[in-house]
């Protein structure tokens, strides 16, 4: 974990900086390819981050609706919902892949 990624918020609460990337239909629907996030430290799994993003409502609520198939990667490795995320990680969300 990089020291600069872990910061204290105004309230003294521990925050975790991560980069979140979005691809394909998800990128278009959310109107952005990436975002730098400063997460409360209780959001420490892929599943937790997904819930956190869904709670923003609007396009976020539908993009991350429970019935939407969304895949994730942590630091460029495919990751399951239970996978841990920590400060400095590169997290990506995307639809099931369709290459080949």
């Amino acid at each position: 974990m990089c020291a600069s990624c872990r910061t204290l918020s105004y309230f003294g609460e521990m925050r975790v900086k991560v980069t979140v990337l979005f691809f394909a239909a998800l990128r278009e629907q959310l109107g952005r390819p990436r975002e730098e996030l400063d997460l409360p430290s209780n959001i420490n799994t892929i599943g937790g981050l997904r819930d956190h993003l869904r709670a923003r409502g609007g396009a976020w609520a539908s993009a991350f609706a429970p019935n939407r198939a969304v895949r994730a990667a942590v630091n460029q490795d495919m990751a399951q919902p239970a996978a841990a995320i920590k400060a400095g990680d590169e997290v990506a969300f995307f639809p099931p892949v369709t290459g080949g």
Binding site: R27, A69, Q76, M78, V97, G99
Partner: protein, 142 residues
Amino acid sequence: MKVAVQREDFDLGAEVRAISKDSKVGAVASFVGLVRDVRMTLEHYPGMTENAIRGIVDQAASRWQVMDCTVIHRYGELQPNDQIVLVAVASAHRGDAFAACEFIMDYLKTQAPFWKKEHRAGGAAWVEAKAADDQAAGRWKS
């Protein structure tokens, strides 16, 4: 082992020759995927893509006798009949070459971060993943 993610087209004959030079190679199985009727854009996840493909190739090489292997996957704008993907596996034996080649293709389809957007007359749409592809990759677990 060569892995390339590129906009440019590739030359099957040249790629297969390049992995056939060792006189212990007796078999080269290869696969080319092509764009069917519809113009498309292929998006990918730079950085992860090559790593994911290398991981798939390493798995194949740990399961079968693979003497050399080349995987090339294109991204960007592609026209009908354009080549999309090449997998070529050189081995001493044909069974290993075929199995490793098909395994790599099946895993590419479910594990490599590429997404196809088709441009039809009615508008553009992202291709939906197929359950058949998950099944094809899943059968190698047995």
